[in-house]
Assembly symmetry: none
Homo-oligomer: 196 residues x 4
Amino acid sequence: MNSTNGINDKRQRILKAAARVFSRKGFYKSTVAEIAKEAQVADGTIYLYFKNKDDILITLFEDEMATVIREMKQELSGLDTAEQKIRKFIEKHLALIDENRELAEVIQIELRQSHKFMKEYSGTKFRDYVNIISSIINEGQKNGEFNQDIIPGIAKIVLFGSLDELSNYWVLSKRKKYSLSLCAQITGDIFLSGIK
Amino acid sequence: MNSTNGINDKRQRILKAAARVFSRKGFYKSTVAEIAKEAQVADGTIYLYFKNKDDILITLFEDEMATVIREMKQELSGLDTAEQKIRKFIEKHLALIDENRELAEVIQIELRQSHKFMKEYSGTKFRDYVNIISSIINEGQKNGEFNQDIIPGIAKIVLFGSLDELSNYWVLSKRKKYSLSLCAQITGDIFLSGIK
Amino acid sequence: MNSTNGINDKRQRILKAAARVFSRKGFYKSTVAEIAKEAQVADGTIYLYFKNKDDILITLFEDEMATVIREMKQELSGLDTAEQKIRKFIEKHLALIDENRELAEVIQIELRQSHKFMKEYSGTKFRDYVNIISSIINEGQKNGEFNQDIIPGIAKIVLFGSLDELSNYWVLSKRKKYSLSLCAQITGDIFLSGIK
Amino acid sequence: MNSTNGINDKRQRILKAAARVFSRKGFYKSTVAEIAKEAQVADGTIYLYFKNKDDILITLFEDEMATVIREMKQELSGLDTAEQKIRKFIEKHLALIDENRELAEVIQIELRQSHKFMKEYSGTKFRDYVNIISSIINEGQKNGEFNQDIIPGIAKIVLFGSLDELSNYWVLSKRKKYSLSLCAQITGDIFLSGIK
DNA sequence: CATGAATGAGTCTTCATTCAT
DNA sequence: CATGAATGAAGACTCATTCAT
């Protein structure tokens, strides 16, 4: 009827609705009934597409990470130096957060609730994403751009942590004192001077 | 009988128990009954010391932050240069995480569950802590140690983010590939080269 | 299967069960679980039909009053004199109490427990019922049947109080010394001689 | 110290406090702790004077009824005719309600909550009080003042019900349209014309 | 007599999940 | 595929009562 892309119509509607609801009330305080209502779907319908409530959150995360990783790799593919790639990574990460507030909020905050996630979820997708950083650093060390003493496995945590905290700041602060591009600039400056 | 320090005996026992239980099962999956049992106290007794379940988490956080801020300031007070202070801050932060795993886990993970916390809690204590970093940077800019172009308000987020992510890594990874002192060293190297 | 009138089946079953349970143990000592069990319904089901425990009591009262008012007005409609109407009101009121003991007990006793009811509940339905009396008296004063000095607003309280106390007596006494029809007769005699 | 009548000081303070609290929040919603606080007494102290929470309500009622019965009998003793006595009973009953609002509220409303009271409590004191009415009627029938056909056992319920409902009206209505003395007058007129 | 900290049984209510239609 | 009424397990919280001091 009013569906053009057929099969995944409902599934997508549920995911979008879940992102909105989770971002509004948090994972634990959100109810499946509320997500169903927001998606204009019956409560039971959700269980035709997702195993359980946790599964919605996991899917939300994995779908998003897949998109982000794909887009990020594409952005980086055209660049020559490792420095350019690091700068682009920083810019793009923060831009993605900005473009999709609701989802970002969910990932920044709610995702960390589920013990499954932080303690049990192996998080391949997440690791893949963060490993983009270490592979750039590796590349930079091989071609002499970056200091050989830096351990990529640690440096990736250092940079990702900075970006994540900036994202948090961006998502949670009501009045943002600094623009995202300024944040990107300075973070790039600090990190790159630091590892060169 | 079995009480030596009197008044705050029960309150402390409940807090310790809560830290253990929260760290084991997460905030939402922990029950008040379980905390009570772990503290060897009746369920109702908890409500003599805390307003509700949320209040236990908040108190856990605030108590710990107060201690951490106090200790941190003392550690820093004897040092001369801003660089030394930054290095000490990094070392001490990671060391504190290491010394008190359970509490760290709670603060790293569970605290972020409560929407109250991340979205509504004004978090003076937390801000105070992070602001220690920006005041060191300020100091370093005044005496010429650090680059004047760096904006302390952003740099503090950058460094805190790195430390926080390292802490997360430290708390969550089962097999830690890098020692804490190595992490501290490299983080200090990167950040300080970055802002000098 | 075992449902013949469909939609309101459960709702009615819950109300009937509540009347039984309340009449047995009183409102405060009755538990929602017990009502559910008596209605052969899951605990949670009750909350699909009623906002909370108080709401069950309120509904019980309002539903009953609506029925009573309807029946009473119908009974009175065919009568000519105000005196006949007063006598019929008295008879019918006591008869209704007698016909539905459980509900009467709830309304006589349990209803008065909820402060909401006696102090805050505006009680339109209840007022409507009692006002039937004053309008009959008014009518009787207009056509010269009753004494003009009687204030209908007070007289209605006087008569309703008598009937209510008789109902109480009827509901609570184990051994009833006087028949309902005798009570109705004498009450009518006293009240009518009194206002003529 | 600040006690002049010794022994019953605390007991009285608790009873007064209970009357205030019950009248404010109702019996079931009042807590023993709140009564203790209002009486400026420790929670446990209450159990030195009363068996349990129910016992406070019962005592409140019985103490008050004893006083009321004593006062009522004294008022009536000087009067000659049964008619005068009925009128005095009506006036005094309503006046007592008016003089002690809080207690009246408790007795009018809260007392009826406890199933013990309405269904199990034998209520000697209460019966004694209501029987004052029937004995006056008896007396009036013997000396020819009242109609022999009236059954005192029913008439007492009729009059007491009227008075009780008027009391209720008086206690619960915010804006009282009719003065107590007018109510007393009309009630007396109706009842007395009715039984003469 | 008085205290008030401690107890723990008891209850309402929520909500993820199922399943008959 | 879709529905949404029904389920019932689970948990936060209250409060009358006790008892060591």
